[in-house]
C-alpha cells in the first residue's frame, strides 16, 4: 500500500530509460510517450484522491525507520503538485510532435522529458533534505539536456549561463546542508524540524535558514537573483520553455514553502518580513521587465517573475489565508505558465517572428489562437471568473488582515501592469490590419490548439469550481501552518 507513494517517481523514470533505447523509432516513441503520460495522469489523480480521503502515504524505503532511512512523503500538498505537474506533462507531450523537429525528437527529447518529470515529482515527494538536493540535480541535468537540444548558437550561449548559475547554487545548497548537519546532526526534514523546535531556532539556525532561502531563491528567480531567468527560458523549443516555465521555478517555491512552514518558523519577524519586501521588489522588477520588451516570448518569460513574487508574498505574510492563497496561486500558475508558453510558441511559429512590431492582424487568420491568448491573459492577470482571481484575492485578504498595505497596493498595481503587458500582445499582434510580413498561406493550427485548450480548461475549472477546490486548499494550509502534524506523521512516537 505505502509503496504507491514512490510510483509517481518510478513510472517516468522507467519510461525515460525505456524510451532511450527506442529513440530511432519515432512514431512508436511518440505514441508510447502519450500513453504513458496519460496513464500516469490517471494513476496520479487516483493516488491524489486516496491521499485526500485517508491522509498522507509515507514510504520508508528499505524498511528503515523514519529518521534513519530515506522517506517518501505523499501528503496532500505534494500530491496536488505532482498532479499539476502531470497535467502540464500531458499537454506538453501532445504539443511536442507538432513543434519539435524530427531530429530533435530522435536526439532523446522524450527520455529527457521523462527524467525531468522524475526529478520534479521526486523533489515534491521527498522528505529528506539531501534527497531533495539529489532530485534537484536530476531535474536540472534533464533541463540542461533539453535546453541545448537543437544546438543553435543562441541556445549554446544561453545554456552556458544557465548551467553555470545552477552549478553554483547547487554547491551552495550542499554547503548549507553541511552547516545544518553540523548543528542538528540529521538530514531528515521532520527530525530537523523537531530539533530546531527544541532549541527554539537559535541565532545560527536563522542564518542557515536565510542561506537556504538564497539557494531556493536562485532556483525560483526571486529578486535579486532573477537575472539569469528570462533569456535561457526563451531560447529552446516552445514545449521546453513551457516545461521550464511551468515546473522549474515552482520547485524552488515549493522548497521555500516547505522549509519555511516546517523548519524555520520560530523567528518570523526576521525571515518572513524579509520575504515580504523581497516579494514586492520581485513583482516590480519582473513586471518592468515584461513591459520593456517587444519579444512576445520574453514578455511571458518575464511574467514568471512577478508570479513568483505573489507566491513569496503569501509565505511572507504567514497566515492561514495567505498560505492558502499561495497554494492556489502555485497550482494556477503552473498551469497558466505552461499554456502561455505554448500559446506564444504557436504564435511565433505561425507569424514567423517573435517581434511584436512585425506582427499585426493575426486574428483574421487564427481566431482560435487569438481568443485563447486573450483568455490566458485574463487568467494571468486575475480577472474574476478565472483561477488567477481567487489566489490573488486570498493573498490580498491575508495582506490586509496583517496590515501590510504596501504589499497589497504593490500587488494590485503589478496585476494591472501584468494585464497591460499581456494585452499588448493581443492588441498589437492580433488586432489591426493584416501585416504583409506574414506568410500568405495560413498554417493549420488545430494540432497546436488542443493541448493549449486542455490546459486552459483546467484554468477555467479552477476558477469556476473554486467552491469545490477551496476547502481542500484550506485544509492544506491548515496542515502547513501546523508543522507538528507533519513531524508526528513521520516520527511516530
Amino acid at each position: 500500500m505505502s509503496n504507491l507513494a514512490i510510483l509517481p517517481i518510478l513510472i517516468p523514470f522507467i519510461a525515460g530509460i525505456l524510451l532511450a533505447f527506442l529513440n530511432k523509432h519515432i512514431p512508436l516513441v511518440r505514441s508510447l510517450a502519450k500513453i504513458i503520460t496519460v496513464a500516469q495522469l490517471l494513476f496520479v489523480s487516483w493516488l491524489c484522491y486516496l491521499v485526500y480521503q485517508s491522509g498522507s502515504i509515507i514510504l520508508e524505503t528499505g524498511a528503515w525507520k523514519a529518521p534513519y532511512g530515506i522517506i517518501i512523503v505523499a501528503d496532500s500538498l505534494a500530491m496536488t503538485l505532482v498532479l499539476t505537474t502531470n497535467i502540464v506533462a500531458v499537454a506538453c507531450v501532445f504539443f511536442a510532435p507538432v513543434s519539435l523537429t524530427e531530429k530533435q525528437e530522435r536526439f532523446y527529447f522524450y527520455p529527457f522529458f521523462f527524467l525531468l518529470i522524475t526529478g520534479v515529482s521526486g523533489a515534491f515527494l521527498t522528505g529528506d533534505l539531501f534527497n531533495l538536493f539529489v532530485f534537484f540535480e536530476v531535474l536540472l541535468m534533464a533541463s540542461y539536456g533539453l535546453i541545448v537540444l537543437g544546438n543553435g548558437k543562441v541556445q549554446l550561449r544561453e545554456s552556458l549561463k544557465y548551467v553555470l548559475i545552477n552549478v553554483f547554487s547547487s554547491m551552495l545548497f550542499v554547503t548549507t546542508i553541511a552547516f545544518l548537519y553540523a548543528i542538528v546532526g540529521t538530514v531528515n526534514m521532520a527530525q530537523i524540524a523537531q530539533r530546531v523546535q527544541e532549541v527554539d531556532q537559535a541565532g545560527i539556525l536563522t542564518v542557515i535558514g536565510i542561506l537556504f532561502f538564497f539557494v531556493f531563491a536562485t532556483k525560483a528567480a526571486i529578486f535579486p537573483l532573477y537575472y539569469w531567468l528570462p533569456n535561457p527560458y526563451i531560447v529552446p523549443n516552445p514545449v521546453v520553455s513551457a516545461l521550464f516555465g511551468a515546473l522549474l521555478t515552482k520547485v524552488g517555491i515549493y522548497a521555500i514553502l516547505r522549509t519555511f512552514t516546517l523548519i524555520f518558523v520560530h523567528d518570523p519577524n526576521l525571515t518572513h518580513t524579509l520575504f515580504i519586501y523581497l516579494a514586492a521588489l520581485t513583482m516590480i522588477f519582473g513586471v518592468i521587465g515584461a513591459l520593456s520588451t517587444h519579444n512576445i516570448k520574453l514578455i511571458v518569460a518575464y511574467n514568471i517573475i512577478p508570479a513568483v513574487g505573489f507566491m513569496l508574498m503569501g509565505i511572507g505574510l504567514f497566515t492561514e489565508t495567505s498560505i492558502s492563497g499561495t497554494l492556489y496561486y502555485l497550482v494556477h500558475d503552473m498551469i497558466i505558465k505552461g499554456s502561455l508558453f505554448l500559446i506564444v510558441g504557436a504564435i511565433a511559429y505561425v507569424a514567423g517572428t517573435s517581434d511584436l512590431r512585425k506582427m499585426g492582424g493575426l486574428i483574421h487568420h487564427y481566431p482560435v489562437l487569438g481568443w485563447m491568448l486573450f483568455i490566458a491573459s485574463l487568467v494571468l492577470a486575475g480577472i474574476p471568473p478565472f483561477s488567477g482571481f481567487i489566489g490573488k484575492l486570498l493573498l490580498l485578504q491575508g495582506g490586509v488582515a496583517q496590515e501590510e498595505l504596501l504589499i497589497v497596493i504593490t500587488g494590485l498595481i503589478t496585476s494591472l501592469l501584468i494585464l497591460f503587458s499581456m494585452i499588448r500582445i493581443f492588441v498589437k499582434g492580433f488586432w489591426g490590419e493584416k501585416s504583409d510580413v506574414l506568410p500568405t498561406k495560413p498554417v493549420k493550427t488545430a494540432p497546436f490548439t488542443w493541448p493549449i485548450a486542455f490546459l486552459l480548461t483546467f484554468s477555467v475549472l479552477l476558477g469556476l469550481g473554486a467552491e469545490w477546490v477551496y476547502p481542500s486548499v484550506q485544509s492544506m494550509a491548515e496542515y502547513l501552518m501546523n508543522p507538528d502534524l507533519y513531524i508526528e506523521s513521520i516520527l511516530k512516537e
Binding site: F130, F133, V134, E137, M141, Y144, V148, N151, K153, V154, L156, R157, E158, S159, L160, V163, L164, V167, F168, S170, M171, L172, V174, T175, I177, A178, F179, Y181, A182, V187, N231, T293, H294, N295, D355
Partner: protein
C-alpha cells in the same frame, strides 16, 4: 583541526569565486570545480573530525568516523563530476560555434 580545514575551504571558495568572475570560459569552469571542492571539504569538516576508525564494521572497535557525510560527499562528487563534464563539452561546443571563449562577447542582442 576543524579550524584549519574551515580556513582551507574558505580559501577554496574565495579562489573559486574569483575564477568564476573572470572572462575566460575555462577559468570559470575551473572556478566551479574549486567551489565544489570547497563544498565537499566543508561537509567532511562540519561533521566533526574527531579521531576514529574508518566506518567499516570491525570487531573490537567502538569508535568510528561518522559515515553519513562520507556518503553525502560521494553522491555530491559524482553529481558535480557529471555536471563539470557537461559544462566542459558545452564550453567546447560554444567556443567552436561562436568562435570565442570570452564571456563578454557572448552577450545576446535583443532580436536575432
Amino acid at each position: 583541526m576543524e579550524i584549519i580545514m574551515s580556513v582551507l575551504a574558505g580559501i577554496l571558495f574565495a579562489t573559486g569565486i574569483y575564477n568564476i568572475l573572470q572572462k575566460q570560459m575555462l577559468r570559470i569552469i575551473i572556478g566551479t570545480a574549486l567551489v565544489s571542492h570547497g563544498a565537499h571539504l566543508f561537509i567532511l569538516t562540519m561533521a566533526g573530525l574527531k579521531r576514529g576508525a574508518p566506518p567499516i564494521l570491525t570487531e573490537g572497535i567502538e569508535d568510528y568516523a561518522d559515515p553519513l557525510p562520507q556518503a553525502l560527499i560521494l553522491t555530491s562528487i559524482v553529481i558535480s563530476f557529471g555536471v563539470t563534464s557537461l559544462l566542459l563539452v558545452l564550453a567546447y561546443r560554444a567556443s567552436r560555434i561562436t568562435g570565442t571563449d570570452n564571456m563578454e562577447e557572448l552577450r545576446g542582442n535583443e532580436h536575432e
